[in-house]
């Protein structure tokens, strides 16, 4: 591929400016969905076109870029987006959360707390938290502008009445700075408390043409009922590989006999811990693993 | 209590060539508290029309109908509604109720509307139904399925549930047996004794002579007949 034929980070400068304006507006009004003129990207919708456009607009040549998909750096989606910017922007890439300056993510927030000099970019499929109950865009916009959010609790009410508890486990709705109700993208609700952080968080929805943002230290509260308070739940287990008890876990079926393995969904977190000598119940020391 | 002055009424039939039928001219009479006035006159002379005008059911063309401080002939709907709620009762010949509502509730309703407690309203309703010999097992049923006589008695119980200062009775003893007729006449006498002003239509002459203090011949007000 003749990469030099493309502008830095694929998008032309006019487009990037347009997206940056949307980002700045989003940062100025935390949680508010800013419409933007989403471009055709060389990948299908649902593969992170929104996140990619936001990343393209914020990347500078000095950046170090990391992509995670459900916590992992090595899935098809993560690898292809990482390579995309490696080629079109020529930026350094990494799997190391601490070294990255821009992290694009799908469905997770890294376990390691992010710093003020980092940006976290989310891929968002459906940005409108009210959509499942109110199909009209005109009406949902009005509800946001008038802060009519009773419907959000109707959704949680339905959860409790059907499951005995709030069963919404991901894309758990939050209220931002006491104003806008926001869909935090399909991250597990375990990650919700991390939404208040030191880094800038940007959310891009390509198909729905919306960008929204959380500036550092924004107050983000998960919606709940007084008698059914929000709980950041995870599998009641420790990572079988690195022994971490505080990380979000994936559950793997490892044999035909129903054997299970719980492991950190954040692969970099797990690898880093194992390199530091932590070993889980089914783990093996990292040196032999490498060999 | 009830004062009728220069009361006129005509019907205009817009869909039948705009025919105007005058039915009443310069009706005048008065009823004092504790008094019962019987309306008489041949069938078609306008007794029921007059009665309906007193209740505000028919619109007066001109004149005055003063009842309990309200001129029914020109009052606002809400003034008439308030009048009907706490000052003016009406026992018509026909029972008109919402299907499915129990007899007890039908009778208690006028009391409930005046803000009476549900318990005492029902107690009063039971007392009247008992007196009027409505079998107890019918009380929880809707009166829509009752016989004509039973419906008439339910209607009377409803009309007498609340102690209206003014009362209109349209054939209250029609289709009643001797025993029930006696109960109704006693109810009328009790109402008079407590000071109610009553206007009634009684084809039952004996009953009329017993309870009415005066008679008003409506024929006098019938245009073309007087």
């Amino acid at each position: 591929m003749n990469v030099s034929a493309y502008n830095f980070a694929y998008l032309d400068e006019q487009t990037k400016r347009m997206i940056r304006r949307a980002i700045l507006k989003g940062l100025a009004i935390p949680g508010y969905q800013v419409p933007f003129a989403s471009r055709e990207m060389p990948m299908p919708y649902g593969w992170g076109t929104g996140g990619v456009q936001v990343s393209a607009a914020v990347l500078v040549p000095e950046d170090t870029f990391k992509v995670i998909d459900q916590g992992a750096d090595d899935t098809t989606n993560a690898v292809s987006i990482r390579r995309f910017f490696e080629k079109t922007a020529g930026v350094a890439v990494t799997e190391d959360t601490a070294r990255a300056s821009v992290i694009q993510t799908r469905h997770r927030i890294p376990e390691m707390p992010l710093r003020a000099d980092q940006i976290l970019v989310y891929q968002v499929p459906i940005p409108e938290p009210l959509r499942f109950l109110e199909p009209s865009e005109v009406e949902t916009r009005k509800m946001h502008s008038l802060e009519e959010y009773g419907l959000m609790h109707v959704k949680l009410y339905e959860d409790i009445s059907q499951h005995g508890a709030i069963a919404t486990a991901y894309a758990y709705p939050v209220k931002v700075e006491g104003r806008y109700v926001m869909d935090p993208s399909p991250i597990p609700k375990f990650d919700n408390p991390k939404l208040t952080m030191d880094a800038i968080q940007l959310f891009g929805a390509g198909r729905e043409q919306r960008i929204y943002a959380l500036p550092p230290h924004t107050r983000v509260v998960s919606l709940d009922f007084e008698d059914f308070p929000f709980e950041a739940s995870k599998a009641d287990h420790a990572c079988d590989l690195c022994g971490a008890g505080d990380s979000y876990l994936d559950e793997l079926i490892v044999d035909d006999a129903g054997g299970r393995l719980f492991m950190c969904s954040d692969t970099d977190y797990c690898t880093t811990r194992r390199a530091a000598g932590h070993v889980g119940a089914q783990g093996v020391p990292v040196k032999e693993d490498v060999a | 209590m009830i004062q009728v002055e220069k009361l006129c009424k005509s019907f205009t039939l817009h869909n039948q060539g705009g025919a105007v039928i005058p039915v009443m001219q310069d009706a005048e009479f008065a009823v004092a508290p504790g008094e019962c006035v019987g309306l008489i006159g041949a069938s078609g002379a306008g007794k029921s029309t007059l009665m309906r005008m007193l209740y505000g059911n028919y619109l007066a063309a001109s004149g005055h109908i003063r009842i309990g401080g309200v001129d029914v002939a020109r009052a606002e709907p809400r003034e008439i509604l308030a009048l009907r709620r706490d000052r003016l009762g009406y026992v018509s010949q026909f029972l008109r109720v919402v299907p499915r509502v129990s007899t007890l509730d039908v009778v208690a309703e006028p009391l409930l509307r005046t803000g009476c407690g549900a318990q005492s309203a029902r107690a009063r309703a039971q007392e009247l139904l008992e007196r009027l010999n409505i079998p107890r097992h019918l009380w929880t049923l809707s009166p829509t399925t009752f016989s004509g006589g039973e419906q008439q008695r339910v209607n009377i119980a409803r009309g007498f549930a609340y102690a209206y200062p003014a009362l209109l009775l349209d054939e209250p003893t029609a289709s009643l047996d001797a025993g029930n007729r006696e109960v109704v006449l006693a109810l009328i006498e009790e109402a008079k004794a407590r000071g109610a002003a009553i206007v009634g239509i009684f084809h039952d002459e004996a009953a009329r002579h017993r309870v009415c203090d005066h008679e008003v011949d409506v024929t006098r007000f019938t245009p073309g007949l007087a």
């Binding site: 409790i160 | 505000g56 059911n57 709907p77």
Partner: protein, 256 residues
């Protein structure tokens, strides 16, 4: 006494066509007013203008707000008007599916207005919902069923419960018994009458069914071609109609 609703010269035009023209009336607390007329007479247009769903071209609709007394709901801000719409006002649609969330359980439908005004205790919301389902004669064990599993009459009763749970003072009803079986209608009418009396509700009921207004409405307004042709006590208008159109309307009803 202050009227609860004061309607003054309300007009609505659809281009050159008249929706409703120059309608005025006062509605007092506890009063139920019926609006009758044939299809296209402007009664639904008027109702929607009164309830804030349509913007009239002229006139004023003043509502006796709890905080500030009479306010023109046409000129008040949209958030204020919508707030009224989920607190002091209620709107019962002819088709229950227009007034219900069909993909939300009966309990959620009733609870929505509570949550919209800030209720955040699941147990309390559920208790209120159960109580209200009982008041509209829906069995408590149907609380988690969706309205799509309900009969037409039940859906309509659910819609009423959903509307009345926040204790509104004024209820707008658009053909509330339309499309229901006669026996179901009777039950609904009885229920509405009871609620109106118990809660001291004021209501404006649009219908073309004269039997419905006779049983429910204290006052009646007859509309034809967008104009009010006659008003008065319900029984007076029905038994002694003055206007030619009302006479025609009343005499056209089939007697059973």
């Amino acid at each position: 006494m202050t009227p609860l609703l004061q309607v003054e010269a309300v007009s609505k035009f659809y281009g050159a066509r008249i929706g409703c023209a120059d309608v005025s009336f006062d509605l007092y607390p506890g009063e139920v007013m019926g609006i009758v007329g044939e299809s296209g007479s402007g009664k639904s247009t008027l109702l929607n203008c009164l309830a804030g769903h349509l913007q009239p071209d002229a006139g004023a609709v003043r509502f006796d707000t709890r905080a500030e007394g009479l306010r023109d709901t046409i000129t008040m801000s949209e958030p204020e008007r919508r707030m009224l719409g989920r607190t002091d006002w209620a709107f019962v649609h002819q088709h229950a599916r227009d007034g219900l969330r069909m993909n939300v359980s009966a309990g959620g439908n009733v609870g929505e207005r509570l949550m919209a005004v800030g209720a955040r205790h699941y147990g309390d919301i559920r208790n209120s919902a159960t109580d209200w389902l009982g008041r509209v004669e829906i069995a408590a064990d149907r609380i988690d069923d969706r309205p799509s599993a309900f009969s037409g009459g039940m859906q309509q009763r659910l819609q009423i419960a959903r509307n009345l749970v926040t204790g509104p003072r004024l209820v707008f009803m658009d053909e509330p018994t339309g499309g229901l079986d006669v026996s179901v209608q009777a039950r609904l009418l009885d229920l509405m009458r009871g609620l109106v009396r118990e809660m001291g509700l004021s209501a404006i009921i649009v219908t073309h069914d004269l039997a419905v207004v006779r049983l429910l409405a204290d006052r009646l307004m007859v509309m034809k071609d967008g104009h009010v042709v006659e008003t008065g006590l319900t029984d007076q208008v029905l038994d002694d109609p003055q206007h030619g159109y009302t006479q025609l309307l009343v005499s056209s009803v089939l007697q059973v």
